[in-house]
């Protein structure tokens, strides 16, 4: 039973169904509109990739948004210079961010622990500052890199694609998918997410992934066991950098704009928070973390007293007003407060992030119904893969 549930094809099947049906089951939460669904998928990719570095090796990078930003810039430049087809844009985004990750990773991985973190942070801050100001000819600074009608788009010109009035839209081979607008964008991102998740799953369950986890557990031992740990770390760094580049490229593919703020330290911090919130080193956790943070950012921030009244409509009037008054400070402009509280509550009560809460919950259910050793669905590997806590430093 356990074996079947943890088999890769089954996990992938369940995962794909869950992801692709998101527009349906997210409807009650008011989160089923295209833009947010796209953000879920894209930041999910970012977090899943980040987890390959942080979750497996324990190296806490504070500069991964740099690669996301570089991916976005690369993709937009591909739209400007080459073609509006998203495939070359995304591939180029991954290559270019991979190259940057190789250089930054090579230098930063000469140090470990917090020294590594600060090195990545320093590189990221330099990239951000330069992109915001001095590199404006490449990045268009604060406004962000945008498409214009006059862009050359050499490949499209060669292919004889006519220039229309207004800005062209990104597409996949012109006819296959005409535009990345709306749900199309989501489904493209969702398919990429499924592939990205599959690769992450394979890495987690490969000897390579096990070695990365061993590095996290005891790097000194790895060296005396005959492994050169630096190339392993660098590979993980570059893979996660390319995931970030992929996410950045997708962001630009769906909405062709790339801004420097995507590379700010707060953006790098966000992916760290997503990963920890969901559960470091678990397969699904980072994805959950990304979803929760993006949900707060987009839905909680938009609630105002009008909407609250609608939500609490079912209560008697006195209660309704009371609830609106109580909840009011935590939504709308107060959404940061709620997010801060969620961070604290999760980390205080669930040291392993939300995934730990979920596995506790399944344990609880099991106990109540006196069921056997049936594993938690979807992500059985979580239990094996999750990091053990305590004893740090």
């Amino acid at each position: 039973m356990k074996k079947i549930l943890s088999s890769t094809p089954l996990i992938m099947l369940i995962f794909s169904v869950v992801v692709l049906s998101a527009p349906i089951w997210l409807a009650p939460l008011g989160a089923n509109y295209p833009d947010l669904l796209q953000k879920f998928a894209i930041f999910g990719i970012f977090a899943v990739g980040y987890n390959i570095l942080f979750g497996l090796t324990g190296y806490l990078s504070f500069g991964h948004a740099t690669f996301l930003g570089i991916g976005s810039y690369t993709a937009v430049w591909s739209f400007k210079l080459l073609t509006m087809n998203i495939l070359p844009a995304i591939i180029l985004a991954m290559i270019v961010s991979g190259v940057f990750a190789l250089v930054i990773g090579f230098l930063s991985l000469r140090r470990s622990g917090i020294y590594f973190s600060i090195l990545t942070l320093a590189f990221a801050q330099m990239a951000y500052s330069l992109a915001y100001s001095v590199l404006t000819p490449i990045t268009n600074g604060e406004t962000g890199l945008q498409l214009t009608q006059q862009d050359p788009r050499y490949l499209d010109a060669i292919a004889g694609i006519p220039v229309k009035d207004g800005l062209p839209s990104t597409n996949l081979f012109g006819t296959l998918i005409k535009s990345m607008d709306g749900y199309f964008g989501f489904y493209v991102a969702a398919v990429v997410l499924i592939v990205a998740f599959y690769i992450s799953l394979k890495i987690f369950r490969s000897p390579f992934g096990m070695k990365l986890r061993a590095i996290k557990s005891n790097q000194t031992r790895m060296k005396y066991t005959g492994f050169n740990t630096r190339p392993y770390l660098l590979t993980a760094f570059v893979i996660s950098g390319m995931y970030a580049g992929l996410a950045g490229g997708l962001l630009a593919s769906i909405d062709p704009l790339a801004g420097a703020e995507r590379m700010q330290w707060t953006a790098s911090g966000e992916v760290v928070l997503m990963t920890i919130l969901g559960g470091v080193g678990t397969l699904i956790g980072p994805l959950l973390g990304a979803t929760i943070i993006k949900y707060f950012e987009n839905i909680f921030s938009a609630l105002n007293s009008n909407e609250l009244h609608k939500i609490f409509d079912f209560l008697p009037e006195g209660m309704e007003n009371f609830m609106v008054t109580v909840v009011g400070p935590f939504v709308g402009e107060g959404w940061h407060l709620t997010l801060g509280l969620v961070f604290m509550i999760v980390v205080i009560f669930l040291p392993g992030g939300i995934m730990q809460g979920i596995s506790h919950l399944f344990g609880f259910i099991k106990r109540i119904f006196g069921m056997g050793d049936k594993p938690a669905p979807v992500d059985d590997t979580v239990n094996n893969d999750s990091v053990s806590k305590g004893g740090a430093s």
Partner: protein, 338 residues
């Protein structure tokens, strides 16, 4: 030449501020082994103690503005001045330095509550967890401050006598254009004395010796066993007070707003790490080094050669130092490396 001199002074001034802000952070790192992302928020809280003190002192009577009927204006003269005359006015004028008396107990209380209530449960947890919980706390503190004070910066002036500039150049018989704000000179002196006081405390008291032993080897502290918990609380309290003092005295230079802590957070981390984790002299040295370099990198002559260098100099130097010296300027092996 004059330009270099004044940038030197400016660099020292900046360095003093950086060192002071980083001091508490490195203390928490070194002794408690906690990565405190709420340190910036504590700095901000200190500044808002000064703001609050000023606001309380300047409470004045509401008057109806006759010309416009919908809002209340406030009388020019606060109650304090009405009651105590010139004495009251002087107290208001000196509200920022006086607020120190008020910052110390408040921040100590905040520190103790924070350590007892939250931080102590995170000593044995992973750094990632420490980051998440303190970052969450920082956001919560920020939002509470915003709720009461709004998002805009609040002017918190220095006393009138020191609001202007000191003729530094004339004093040393140099170019008389060489002036420097009094308050910044005071801040430099203030940070040096606080740094000195913390060092003296650690060096010449038995308590300090235990703490230093702890910074050198955390396990030893635990083995000592005698009231280690209490000492940790006090150390955290000291770190909080230092952060608060740094913030309160900074208010005249940078009108405080709820987000100022986050703006300083990254910088203070860079200073601490460049100095070497857990090394107090390292943090001070790194503070001054980065302050001076930033000052000189901002000179027009330098920027003409390297455009944008002033924006990245701190990070560039951090990268170079960390690549050349594995543990920063004065860090020791094994601290925060896993």
């Amino acid at each position: 030449m004059d330009a270099i001199l004044i940038q030197l002074l400016n660099g020292l001034d900046k360095g003093g501020a950086y060192a002071l802000i980083a001091l508490g952070l490195t203390l928490t790192f070194g002794t408690l082994g906690v990565v405190n992302f709420a340190h910036g928020a504590l700095f901000m809280l200190g500044a808002f103690c000064a703001v609050l003190f000023n606001k309380v002192l300047t409470i004045s009577a509401k008057v109806k503005d006759e010309s416009i009927t919908f809002f209340d204006a406030y009388k020019e003269t606060p109650y304090l001045e009405l009651w105590w005359g010139d004495t009251g006015a002087t107290i208001i004028d000196y509200s920022v330095p006086l607020s120190i008396l008020f910052v110390i107990p408040i921040m100590l209380l905040v520190g103790v509550i924070m350590e007892r209530g939250l931080i102590k449960h995170f000593y044995k947890r992973e750094h990632a967890d420490q980051i998440l919980v303190t970052f969450g706390l920082a956001i919560v503190i920020q939002e509470i401050i915003r709720h009461f004070f709004g998002a805009n910066p609040i002017p918190t002036p220095a006393p009138d006598v020191v609001a202007g500039s000191a003729a530094v150049g004339a004093f040393f018989g140099l170019n008389e254009n060489l002036v420097y704000p009094w308050w910044r000179l005071i801040y430099l002196a203030f940070s040096l004395s606080i740094i000195g006081a913390v060092f003296a405390f650690l060096k010449y008291t038995t308590f300090g010796m235990v703490v230093r032993a702890g910074m050198a080897d955390r396990e030893t502290v635990e083995l000592l066993g005698i009231n280690v918990q209490k000492r940790f609380t006090i150390v955290f309290g000291i770190a909080t007070v230092v952060a608060g003092l740094a913030g309160a005295m900074y208010a005249p230079i940078l009108p405080p707003d709820y987000h100022m802590g986050m703006d300083f957070l990254v910088l203070s981390f860079v200073v601490v790490v460049v100095g070497g984790m857990g090394s107090l002299p390292g943090a001070v040295a790194a503070g001054f080094l980065l302050g001076l370099l930033q000052s000189f990198a901002s000179m027009n002559e330098v920027k003409a050669i390297f455009p944008g260098i002033d924006q990245i100099i701190i990070y560039l130097v951090a990268v170079v130092i960390l690549l050349v010296r594995p543990r920063g300027l004065m860090g020791r092996e094994g601290v925060f490396e896993d």
